[in-house]
Amino acid sequence: MNGAPGQPPTPGLAGLLLLADSRLPAGGHAHSGGAEEACRVGAISGPEDLARFLRGRLATAGRVAAALAWSACAGAGESTGAAESAWRLLDAEADARIASPAQRLASRTQGRLLVRTAKRIWPSPALATLAREVPDGAHHPIALGVAAQAAGCTPEQAAMAAAYTSVTGAATAAVRLLGLDPVTVHRVLADLPYDSVIAEQHDWSALPAHAAPALDLLAEQHLRTEVRLFVS
């Protein structure tokens, strides 16, 4: 942060706030990141369970999402932009890191919706290329990274947005489904170690590959549950 008097605020902050806001009209409100199924089977029943669930989600899916968003934002920002085939490669890297087909589908759906929304808010060559190269929808963290670059964010800010949104949707879903005290849940969100899952990414082949089998299983069960309010 540039805190010195007379210095402009850190560039990209406004873009980060807009992207991380749950009001961003990109379909995120209907995804629970496995929380709906976890509530249904009793794995989340109160704030303590939820805190453990979110901590695990951040340390695995959140960490991978942050790394992918960092890479995508950096790639989109290179002077020539990432080569067209590079987007398919990075998307394949994301695919390889999400074991559950249900989670892959949810990630691509959210990515497609985000790209469509971001193209209208922050039109950019990289967003247009990504939409063309991965027409069924790039994975959400990649879409987020490219949208973040278009919004003027740094790769670090893109990674923060990915880490943050990897847990906020699940937290909100638990509030809606279980009637948890929203202030208690925000305290839980405030205590999560976001910084710990963000690291510079320079080599796509060295991206982290943390997995959470429980999240994979919850996502698969959720898709087969008859009564559900959330897409994932």
Partner: protein, 225 residues
């Protein structure tokens, strides 16, 4: 599930695409019955698609599929994460995606109906999603509902008051409803229906046909090139 990625779809402009008709209203007022009735009446003359926003399950979509009024492939269900009004007003991304997917798969279409999940009187469709909207009430909610207003009642392009067959049983005065609706709607149309008795909701279908016809004139495909 791929949507159309051509840039012209990102514009709010309506050229070369179907009219998008939102159908909203409280739980149980007859939105799904009206959607089925419109498919029944308009299916023979218009190319249709339907998007449902079920609250819990795919019940509404399943009802329409079972009713056999439209090719089941042309019905898409959207989940709304406990917030049906968010999906039609504040964050319309999933609904737009579904509408565009239908247009890409089956287009060109004349009419895509987006049926909202049952909500309260404050729910209304975003103009970014619906070109025209119908708000459906029923008489059993009480004859005071039109007077209470709310954006759906006051501003929908058409207000439908359904289940008129129940009026004597619930003590609802249709004259009161009609007078109050006219007062809060400043001349915009109101139709009374009993879809149970008129399976094609013919008066509403006629209104929709007229709207589709004028949409076609204003946004003809020839403007695209």
């Amino acid at each position: 599930m791929s949507a159309n990625h051509d840039d012209h779809h990102d514009a709010p402009d309506g050229h070369g695409r179907a009219l998008r008709l939102g159908i909203g209203g409280p739980v149980g007022s007859g939105k799904t019955a009206l959607t089925a009735a419109l498919c029944r009446s308009l299916g023979p003359s218009l190319r249709l698609g339907v998007v449902t926003n079920d609250i819990y399950t795919t019940e509404d979509a399943d009802f329409l599929r079972r009713a056999g009024v439209i090719d089941p492939e042309r019905i898409m269900a959207v989940q709304t994460g406990c917030c049906p009004h968010t999906a039609i007003r504040d964050d319309i991304a999933a609904n737009i995606d579904a509408v565009e997917t239908l247009e890409e798969r089956f287009g060109p279409l004349d009419l895509v109906i987006v049926e909202s999940g049952g909500d309260n009187l404050t729910a209304t469709f975003s103009r970014g999603l619906a070109d025209r909207q119908i708000f459906v009430l029923d008489v059993s909610g009480g004859d005071k509902v039109p007077r209470k207003g709310g954006p759906g009642v006051t501003s929908a392009d058409l207000l439908v008051v359904n289940k008129t067959d129940l009026a004597p049983m619930v003590g609802a005065d249709l004259t009161v409803m009609s007078r109050d609706a006219a007062a809060v709607r400043e001349g915009k149309p109101v139709l009374f229906t009993s879809i149970r008795e008129d399976k094609g909701a013919h008066s509403v279908a006629e209104w929709v046909s007229g709207v589709v016809e004028s949409w076609r004139h204003q946004h003809s495909h020839s403007h695209l090139s």
